[in-house]
């Protein structure tokens, strides 16, 4: 909306840097999976890069986020350390979760990356609780709950939106609407068009933005974050986007409507933002290539370290079940 704050040139470049990391990381993951070097369920965020990049520039390490199986973009944008992420994907003891969590449970509290869940809808109640903690801390922290469009039909969405609104918690409910929920198109799962209209049921502001547009996404996020930091309560943001690599790595995608897919491709945010940075003179081709190269070499280094690291010892089965190791 017209009165929303806009990202300045440096911020736009930072958004591009984060988004590039996400996109290139995705390409490397797929390459490693094709080569059989990573074996895991993989939910590619390709196409959704701008959303977390444009919100994360307004967040600190101190702010909390919870995300889902398709959340590697959220984590990278939030500053998740690459080495520990790759080691975790490879199931190594040097991974952030010592290899015990894997891609669906990546966690990094120093970066505020508190919970990654594989259960649809479950990021929201927990993010609500983190919002309660943030409020009690009195440090203007916010808590961001990431989830998909399909997740807005599950009970946990309703309960946590309502509780966060009643308690005026500093939570941003960030719905990344990528059109599909596994194989399900929206007409099979809800009888309304805009998910953001659901916010009214809780007395919460709700807004739909083009999640691929850094301006809109940055603006909506910033407004919601400030509102939360000011103690005015939660906001629902519906960020429209698309996932180009289907639900899970390896799926056939027959359920996808070809014209919808083709139309979405014309809106791929990565080439659009890149072209804009150049056309608006925010960066030169050389600047961007430098970013892309630097990002790439960081990823390659992380992969190498991950592949060289050790697997955890089976004694780990008895650790971290409880704080005290079990006998």
């Amino acid at each position: 909306m017209s009165n929303w704050p806009k990202p300045d040139a440096a911020t736009l470049l930072e958004i591009y840097r984060k988004a590039t990391l996400i996109k290139q990381n995705d390409e490397h993951v797929i390459k490693q999976m094709m080569a059989g070097k990573l074996v895991m369920p993989y939910y590619s965020p390709r196409g959704q890069e701008i959303i977390p990049s444009a919100i994360s520039v307004s967040l600190d390490d101190d702010d909390y986020i919870c995300t889902i199986y398709r959340g590697i973009h959220d984590m990278l944008a939030k500053g998740f350390p690459l080495d520990e992420m790759w080691a975790e994907l490879a199931g190594k003891v040097t991974g952030t979760c010592k290899g015990k969590g894997g891609p669906m449970h990546l966690t990094c509290p120093e970066k505020g990356m508190m919970v990654t869940t594989g259960i649809v809808g479950s990021s929201m109640p927990i993010a609500t609780g983190l919002g309660w903690a943030a409020k009690l801390d009195g440090r203007n922290r916010v808590s961001v709950a990431n989830f998909g469009d399909g997740a807005t039909n599950i009970g946990a969405f309703h309960e946590s939106m309502n509780m966060a609104a009643v308690w005026k918690l500093p939570v941003i409910f960030l719905c990344q609407n990528n059109h599909y929920a596994e194989h399900t198109a929206p007409e099979y799962s809800r009888a309304i068009d805009r998910i953001s209209d659901r916010a009214a049921a809780y007395g919460m502001p709700g807004v739909t933005v083009d999640g691929n547009d850094p301006d809109e996404m940055y603006g909506a996020a910033k407004v919601a974050i400030e509102r939360a930091r000011a103690g005015e309560g939660p906001t629902l943001i519906e960020a429209m986007t698309f996932r180009f690599n289907g639900h899970i790595f390896g799926e056939a995608g027959h359920y996808m409507d070809k014209s919808i897919y083709a139309e979405a491709q014309t809106k791929d945010p990565m080439p659009i933002l890149r072209a804009r940075l150049l056309s608006e003179g925010i960066a030169t081709e050389a600047d961007l290539v430098a970013i892309e190269k630097e990002v790439d070499s960081r990823i390659v280094a992380a992969i190498e370290a991950a592949m060289a690291a050790d697997f955890p010892d089976v004694a780990e089965l008895k650790r971290d079940v409880f704080a005290e190791e079990i006998a």
Binding site: V39, K100, M104, I119, G155, E182
Partner: protein
């Protein structure tokens, strides 16, 4: 003597009708059973996330073709709403239909637990028999696919401890077909546990209904009995093969139905062998093996040659990293070790 069905019965009966049982995968066998049941009874319904053909007939393709053949009124893809899925199935069942609801993975069954425990399992009793809930809940699980802590738990013990619901778990395509037909025809709720590791191994399917509540002697033996379900049966048969070479004769009992389980068949087998191992992929502590071991011990007090051995997963969430995941769940080696302990 018990009236347990032995491995060869079904095939013998198929053979006696001059039918060559076709080989198919468990996925295809369940798909066929659903087709046949919907064909046989217009009251049979299917619902769940992505189950209709516009959604590719299920993420694993188990329900492929059903909506095209029987229509989208009877085969409904749902929103991601597990409580409403089970609630809708309960309501349809109370209203005279026979719904087969899919909960994609067993871990997600924690979401609609209230619907299952407080409602599906209890409505017949609480209504004094005026209503009943003839529904099937299909769900799938099984570790070994690097899916981590929230996608491959076995939770049969929760449901076995729940009065009013039956629990079945096929280990072969033939059982998957037969138990599915029986589960759909059953007047009470049945939890039908599929396991991913057994999904794609073809085996003969005779298309016979298999009675709920009856175990199957999957292999006869005389020295020790292994009792299990799902993938554990396959692993146990491999252990039996291996030990046969050493002259140890292992009997393998496939529970098929976990609740109400076939005490008679299990006791008969262990009475014969004098030694028992119970294996399940669920966490060992407070798992179904404890009940089975307890009943065997109670019934055969003084007749056992040693304590019943129990095999189950480690007490932790399913770990992601391959070596941990492998160490977490029982393997043929773990079962073999338990058998040797039972024999010691």
């Amino acid at each position: 003597m018990t009236d347990t069905i032995t491995a060869s019965d079904a095939q013998a009966s198929a053979a006696s009708q001059g039918v060559e049982p076709k080989k198919m995968t468990m996925v295809d066998a369940i798909n066929l059973a659903l087709h046949d049941a919907m064909d046989a009874d217009p009251k049979v319904l299917v619902l769940g996330e992505d189950v209709a053909d516009a959604q590719d007939g299920g993420v694993m393709g188990v329900t492929k073709g059903l909506s095209t053949r029987f229509g989208v009124d009877r085969v409904k893809s749902t929103p991601i709403s597990e409580q409403a899925i089970i609630g809708a199935a309960i309501g349809a069942a109370v209203g005279g239909y026979k719904p087969v609801a899919e909960i994609m993975l067993m871990n997600f069954i924690a979401v609609p637990m209230d619907m299952i425990f407080n409602h599906a399992a209890k409505l017949r009793f609480m209504s004094g028999g005026q209503t009943g809930v003839p529904m099937v809940i299909r769900t799938m699980t099984g570790s070994g696919f690097s899916t981590g802590g929230q996608h491959s738990d076995y939770l049969e013990a929760w449901f076995a401890h729940m009065a009013g619901i039956k629990v079945v778990a096929p280990s072969t395509p033939d059982d998957a077909y037969g138990l599915m037909r029986a589960a759909i025809d059953d007047p009470d709720p049945v939890l039908f546990i599929e396991n991913m590791p057994s999904y794609w191994t073809p085996a003969p399917v005779t298309k016979q209904a298999i009675p709920i509540g009856k175990a199957r002697v999957a292999r006869e033996g005389s020295d020790v009995t292994i009792i299990g379900h799902s993938l554990m049966v396959t692993l146990s048969l491999a252990v039996a093969d291996k030990l046969a070479a050493e002259g140890v004769s292992v009997e393998v009992v496939d529970l098929r139905t976990i609740s109400p389980w076939d005490r008679q068949a299990v006791i008969a087998s262990v009475r014969k062998t004098g030694r028992a191992v119970v294996a399940h992929e669920a966490v060992k502590q407070f798992g179904i093996g404890a009940e089975i071991a307890s009943v065997i011990t109670e019934e055969l007090w003084g007749e056992l040659k040693g304590p019943v051995q129990r095999v189950g997963a480690a007490y932790c969430a399913v770990p992601f990293s391959k070596p941990l995941e492998q160490a977490f769940a029982p393997s043929a080696d773990t079962i073999e070790a338990a058998v040797r302990k039972a024999l010691a």
